[in-house]
Symmetry: C2
Subunit: 331 residues, 2 copies
DNA sequence: TTGACTTACTTAAGCGGTTACTGTAGTTTG
DNA sequence: CAAACTACAGTAACCGCTTAAGTAAGTCAA
């Protein structure tokens, strides 16, 4: 078996508690003893058994991250950012992918709760906040990422999605577009907020908000390329046909661009396209894609930092904090 | 606090042990008692504290996955595949990203070892197997993924990389290329094996293996696009210049394609390019990229399954198992 | 020089489970 | 009808660590 505190204590002729305290810099231990302990710990390459520590302290030194799709660069970047911050403080990250399935998400969260994680960071695939109430009941620390629920106050880290919508639409307007369509998902907060920003931008430029130019789909983020392709085709049949399209995410934009290309129209001369998310390699696409970048890694980092202030009690769950990142236009 | 076995035992007027046994279908408990226990467990939504169980059993029901770059689709797909399999058996996955930094990897692994994970699945960023010996010493279950070390026998799940090299090169030869170059990383087993497959294919077609056509770089996988761009530029200066390029991975291929495009040559008429990895959206690129696909999710799944056979003792660390996936050509 | 404080450490208890051993009915057997 | 099982449940000990409470010395002011 691995080295335990007992081994070290025996070797040094002190009690286990002394070792425990020495290790955690309790001011109850003489410098001399502490040094001897630390010395021996190094020699034996001792590492405290975290399961035992967890049991004794009630803290697990584990944080959970549940995302709808780990393969999506957005979420893997969030994971990366969070992981980097947590690592430094000796925390580990349990990552689960819900595959955009609400039931699976609940199941994964149950698993995690059995492990008594210190903080749960969730980009939820739920349509409503119902299943999140148990976090409140069980007084578990919760941080929502990317997606939130208006009726459910909780810690939240995300991008300023309204600003994204405004920014993207403004960009198209500045490029001379006047008939601007919008394609994307529905029901999830980023989509709704971006749409609102889109409308806001149109209105403040004195342009009309036309319902037929807004194509939203449930779960439009999944298989966004298909959604984008089909939605764009339906937009192309309109008269007048849009001269600019704001796609709520990049895969959708790529689908839309494919549809435009197949129709024989040119991008961006005939129809300009802007996406959101700034997927890697966007610049290498057939037609380079303008996009709005969200600093995904920073979202992860901030979520992790917020997580610390929760476990350290600096931040209470009672007064949830919202951190919004500023988006950036990538032409 | 959360519900414990004690609560259930008290409620039912039985001992804690009875609850424990009932829960795990010990044949020591009458059907009647077992039903009562399970009933109450459901009512209270009880979940056993896994830290406690871990302490008592010595198993953590956790598996660790360390990858060099979580954002790389290859590794996130592996993670996804592994996660899916583990979930079903009640295991959770701790994921860490080493950022291609060998020291960071060692650090992450130390962290994990403190948690006594049941199996460690690693796509190692090490240049040699030295740091892996401690797994053998401490009798920890280890599975290597994607990258292996010839001098270090260990469980391994990956793709048949020689076959990839052969397949890709054959494809170029069939398309009529005769001057085939190869660009990619160095030192890591997949790169070396693919290169070997490349050479093998050339030789078996009676073509010469020209050293000046082989451009490898240390850490060529990182920032592959830059590597590919620079390497291709140097290849373009050769006379004769290659009419086909096998890039050991897709980002490299994209960099190479950029260089070719900037030089005014056409793809694939003047120079054909084939990559490896089949990145998402490859078909949407300026010039659609042929690639060799490795079923990454299956790699993850197989690694997870192998992990089970290790914890269940069906498979011993003494006789390491190697699982190679067959690659698939995506024109 | 004695009581009050410190300093440095130890002992005891418990976190929430598990395993190995004990005990007690009720049932079978010779 | 006593001996020997069997089926079911309970007791005790332990996993490795932490916290709270205790104790034995040394220090200091009165």
């Amino acid at each position: 078996m691995a080295v335990t505190m007992k081994d070290i204590a025996n070797d040094l002729g002190v009690s286990v508690v002394t070792v425990s305290k020495a290790m955690r810099n309790h001011n109850d231990i003489s410098l001399k003893t502490r040094t001897r302990v630390l010395q021996r710990i190094k020699e034996l390459d001792y590492r405290p058994n975290l399961a035992a520590r967890s049991l004794a302290t009630g803290k697990s030194y584990l944080m959970g991250l549940v995302v709808p799709d780990l393969v999506h660069p957005f979420f893997s970047l969030v994971a990366k950012g969070a992981s980097r911050v947590l690592r430094k403080k000796g925390y580990s990250l349990i990552i689960a992918s819900s595959e955009e399935d609400p039931d699976l998400e609940i199941q994964e969260l149950s698993q995690m709760m059995a492990r008594n994680l210190d903080v749960y960071i969730i980009a939820s695939a739920q349509t409503g906040p119902e299943s999140l109430h148990r976090f409140v009941e069980q007084k578990k620390s919760l941080i929502l990422v990317d997606r939130r629920f208006s009726s459910f106050p909780a810690n939240y880290v995300g991008t300023d999605d309204k600003e994204i919508g405004r920014m993207a639409t403004d960009h198209l307007i500045e490029r001379g577009c006047r008939q601007i369509a919008c394609i994307g998902g529905r029901d999830v907060s980023p989509a709704m907020d971006r749409l609102e920003g889109y409308k806001h931008a149109l209105i403040s430029h004195g342009l009309p908000v036309l319902e037929q130019f807004i194509v939203t789909r449930v779960n439009g983020d999944n298989h966004g390329d298909v959604t984008g392709f089909e939605a764009m085709n339906s937009l192309l049949r309109l008269n007048p046909c849009p001269d600019g399209v704001f796609c709520l995410n990049d895969p959708t934009a790529m689908g839309a661009m494919k549809a435009i290309a197949e129709s024989g129209l040119r991008i961006p001369q005939d129809i300009a396209v802007i996406g959101c998310g700034n997927v890697p390699y966007a610049s290498e696409l057939r037609v380079p894609l303008s996009s709005v970048d969200q600093d995904c890694e920073m979202i992860g980092e901030n979520a992790a930092k917020l997580a610390f202030s929760l476990v350290e009690g600096k931040q209470s769950m009672a007064s949830p904090k919202t951190i919004l990142m500023k988006p950036k236009l990538i032409p």
